[in-house]
């Protein structure tokens, strides 16, 4: 039997989710586990899989709209199946399984508000937002005439707006088509036809004005720039951007650089791999070195929130990963208790999840320190912006062969060694230079003497 798909609650604090896009249209077939739609929470875009197979019978959620968790988004059922009973009053009311867990199968609890209109006692379903819109704008409208596109043919806010637009404005069919083609809002056009009817000419005037403005704006900015494309600063990009801007503006960043000789850790990695037949990455060794150093210098494992500095026993290491939609930082929780093997496995799992866009909010929240490793991209050296409310971040560059001066038998000679640049960024409000120096030195020493990592 058909099933209502709802806006999932992905974590304790999630109150609403913004529907980004549908992967399926009404009438299309969908398999269980296939991506159905994408939402964005305050942190990331998440693909939501279908919890059952069948045919997409009805789509209620609109792309770009924000919905409360548990609000019905769609109905999946069989071709031709009667889905009207899914919404019959009370009859098939379905219980939420568990509110607290991340669960895509939870069923709707919020029933549409019913209001009686005039003589006809038949119920009309209208969403709270639509009702609010009508009340706030003192709209006098016969609800029966509005074509509800929402759950159980309930009237949504957008249905009301559409109805008002279509019925309160006189507009010629050609003008309406033209306005739609150019995304001109009908209620913003001044009609010059009989009784204020909007004509093609009126729409063209608005389009011309818009083009004039756009052309002049470009001209004012820089007439030599030809625009390839422009798009909205929104979603994950905007979240990341705003967070970084805030961090850089509020936290005075200072930087500490060390060259780390990676010779021993590379050797050690090979030995371990040969012996245990498992693959451990250099990043895993770096993570372990950072975890150990954080344990040694707990001031580095802290946060500054609302005038309060908190040091943590838990070392939750964030590892910045470049994913398609931007930078994602999966977090390995309680790394202070984990062995190299476990650390390595967990990191692998989380990075894969991140690259597929399947990270759950708890997978990337709660970090206490972050490592950004661009070693695989051949970068010589870079600095990173602190991920607040953390107080430090480590930027790891490529390991490259370099001529270095080493002491052998009391003699200084030049040798070729694999060297990587480590740059530590700290929030100078809390961390001073001495601590930062000790901290990065500790990381360097651990990596240059990897046996100590395992102690």
């Amino acid at each position: 039997m058909a099933e209502v798909i709802i806006m999932p609650k992905l974590g304790f604090n999630m109150k609403t989710g913004k529907l980004i896009k549908w992967y399926k249209k009404e009438g299309e077939e969908i398999k269980k586990g296939e991506n159905f739609f994408q939402i964005t929470t305050d942190k990331t875009n998440i693909d939501i899989e279908s919890t059952r197979g069948g045919v997409v019978r009805k789509i209620m959620g609109e792309e770009g709209e924000e919905y409360k968790v548990l609000e019905p988004m769609a109905i999946i059922g069989e071709e031709g199946e009667d889905i009207s009973d899914l919404s019959e009053d009370g009859k098939k009311e379905q219980k939420i399984q568990k509110e607290s867990v991340v669960d895509k199968k939870v069923k709707p609890t919020e029933k549409p508000i019913k209001i009686n209109s005039g003589k006809n006692k038949k119920n009309i379903k209208i969403s709270p937002r639509a009702k609010k819109y009508i009340d706030e704008n003192s709209i006098d409208v016969n609800l029966r005439k509005i074509n509800g596109k929402g759950f159980d043919n309930g009237i949504k806010e957008s249905d009301v707006i559409k109805y008002i637009e279509e019925n309160n404005s006189l507009i010629s069919p050609v003008a309406r088509n033209l306005a739609e083609n150019y995304n001109v809002k009908i209620d913003e056009i001044e009609g010059t036809g009989a009784r204020g009817k909007v004509l093609k000419e009126d729409v063209e005037r608005v389009i011309d004005e818009r083009k004039y403005k756009e052309n002049n704006a470009i001209f004012e900015a820089d007439s030599s720039k030809k625009v390839r494309k422009s798009y909205k600063y929104e979603g994950v990009r905007k979240i990341i951007g705003e967070r970084l801007a805030k961090s850089k503006a509020e936290a005075p960043h200072i930087y500490f650089k060390n060259e780390v000789n990676m010779e021993e850790v590379i050797k050690f990695k090979k030995q371990l791999e040969n012996k245990n037949k498992i693959k451990i990455s250099i990043t895993d060794f770096i993570s372990l070195a950072v975890v150990k150093s954080l344990k040694k210098y707990p001031e580095m494992n802290s946060s500054l929130i609302d005038e309060e500095i908190t040091e943590y026993d838990s070392v939750n290491i964030g590892i910045a990963v470049a994913a398609e939609e931007g930078l994602i930082v999966p977090v390995i929780k309680n790394a202070q208790n984990k062995t190299l093997g476990i650390l390595s496995n967990e990191t692998k799992g989380l990075v894969n999840k991140a690259r597929k866009g399947k990270l759950m909010p708890e997978d990337y929240s709660g970090g206490t320190f972050t490592i950004s490793n661009l070693g695989m991209f051949g970068i010589d050296e870079f600095t990173a912006v602190i991920n607040p409310p953390e107080v430090g971040i480590l930027a790891v560059s490529s390991t490259k062969d370099k001529a270095v001066v080493v002491e052998k038998n009391d003699e200084k000679i030049i040798e070729i060694k694999p060297i990587a640049n480590f740059v530590l960024t700290v929030d100078h409000r809390i961390i001073d230079g001495l601590l930062a120096s000790k901290f990065i030195k500790s990381i360097k020493e651990l990596l240059e003497n990897p046996l100590e990592l395992l102690i």
């Binding site: 010629s172 069919p173 050609v174 003008a175 088509n177 033209l178 083609n181 004509l199 093609k200």
Partner: protein, 458 residues
């Protein structure tokens, strides 16, 4: 004072008398000055008389087909047009219409004055020695047939369109210089009335303003009726009974009994008066804006005198718009949706852009067609030759043009005019039930064709 008016209209043709009636309706004190006859070119020497002549031809055609509908004892061979009687009929139609208009004018409280108006200044006119003051002046003085600036033998029988409408006999042969609407309609009449007709056209086709496909059909049809058509031909000299013309750099000649010059019309106005007032002209027509105002804000010019479209129905709409503008209603004149009607049989009726014009202006143009032969009523009428085509902008559904070559098309084109002015789209027109059996069904069909294909044609 008695001789002060809100609006003075000079010229009682269609543009002028409609202005006067509309002004009265909007409670303006209005005077209409006409030096000749109310009704102007249209009623007296244009639209109405030519169509009266052509009606005679249409009856003749019906009679020729009568036997196939079972009517017997008709001696087709002996049917002749008695031009004297036809002139009487025409004159009685014209007289009735003219006196009808006069009645409507008087009934609306328009003051009618017969006389020659002289523009004195921006608000003064002199008529028959009396000075009239008017807050606004509408110039609606019309046009006259153009003369041809070539050598003409004074003994040659040269006519213009006005002369031909008073002709009391049918010449054995007639050469017509000019293949526009007037030349084609009168040529068609003369040919059907028994004259040997040759049309000499300067451009590379007759009816050059018509959609090319329809123009082609019309040309083929006229040639099949026996009219000789010489295009890309320039008249050089009119001798006593021969026209010398140049075609493809070769001198040619054609002989005639009468020669008709129909090469367009000139605006009628007194040049010195227009100059004195500083009214701007362009190509010898008075320049106007979309409210029919001249460069002098209280002086308007409607109808042929502004040279915009030179059709009676344009003039009457211009009159309405000019008066409404004077009264503070700012409707604009839209010259893009004025229908054209050409009364050969088949008739030609068009409105809006030609296919070529549409494709030049719009990226995504759709063209629908429907032949009259697939329409039941056309068969009944015995006139299956015909085509309707409609052109739309596929992006918005806007109807850009409708062009018809077919029986009674002039009576039907108004449907397209209404649809275009209301900015309707093809999908809406196909939803309008058209009565059956009528010729008007071709409209529904052509818009069906624009949408998903016509119902009654593959």
């Amino acid at each position: 004072m008695n001789n002060e008016y809100d609006i003075a209209v000079i010229g009682g043709g269609v543009g002028g008398y409609v202005s006067a009636i509309r002004a009265s309706q909007l409670n303006k004190k209005v005077i209409l000055i006409e030096k000749n006859k109310i009704g102007g070119t249209c009623l007296n020497v244009g639209c109405i008389p030519t169509k009266a002549f052509l009606k005679s031809i249409n009856i003749l055609e019906e009679i020729k087909h009568a036997s196939s509908y079972g009517l017997t004892n008709i001696n087709e061979e002996n049917i002749k047009i008695d031009m004297e009687k036809l002139l009487n009929k025409k004159n009685s139609i014209v007289d009735q219409l003219v006196s009808g208009i006069e009645g409507v004018l008087v009934g609306n409280g328009v003051e009618l004055v017969q006389g020659d108006a002289e523009l004195i200044d921006k608000t003064s006119i002199s008529v028959n020695g009396n000075r009239i003051k008017a807050k606004n002046i509408i110039i609606a003085t019309g046009s006259n047939p153009k003369e041809l600036p070539i050598d003409i033998d004074p003994k040659a029988k040269v006519l213009d369109s006005t002369d031909i409408l008073n002709l009391d006999y049918i010449p054995k042969s007639c050469v017509i210089i000019g293949g526009g609407v007037i030349g084609v309609e009168l040529g068609y009449f003369l040919k059907k009335a028994g004259s040997d007709v040759t049309i000499i056209e300067f451009m590379n086709s007759i009816l050059p303003m018509i959609d090319e496909e329809i123009q082609q059909l019309a040309t083929e049809y006229l040639i099949s009726e026996g009219i000789k058509i010489e295009t890309s031909s320039e008249a050089m000299e009119i001798k006593r009974s021969t026209l010398i013309y140049k075609k493809n750099n070769a001198k040619k000649e054609v002989s005639f009994e009468e020669i008709l010059i129909a090469v367009g019309r000139n605006a009628v106005y007194e040049e010195s008066e227009i100059k004195n007032l500083g009214i701007k002209t362009k190509n010898n027509f008075i320049e106007t804006n979309s409210y029919l105002q001249t460069n002098i804000p209280n002086i308007y010019a409607v109808g042929d005198v502004n040279g915009k479209s030179m059709l009676a129905h344009t003039a009457s709409m211009e009159g309405v718009i000019a008066v409404e503008h004077i009264c503070g209603l700012n409707n604009k004149m839209d010259y893009g949706k004025i229908p054209n009607a050409i009364y050969t049989n088949n008739e030609i009726a068009t409105v809006g852009m030609t296919e070529k014009e549409a494709k030049n202006k719009y990226e995504n143009v759709k063209v629908g067609r429907f032949p009259f032969m697939a329409n039941g009523k056309s068969k009944i009428e015995g006139c299956e030759n015909g085509l309707i085509k409609a052109i739309s902008d596929h992006n918005t559904g806007e109807i850009l043009g409708v062009h018809v070559f077919g029986i009674h098309s002039t009576n039907m084109i108004a449907e397209a005019v209404v649809a275009m002015n209301l900015e309707a789209t093809p999908e809406e027109i196909v939803k309008c039930v058209h009565p059956h059996p009528t010729l008007s069904e071709v409209f529904q069909e052509v818009f069906h064709d624009l949408e998903d294909g016509s119902i009654h044609y593959l």
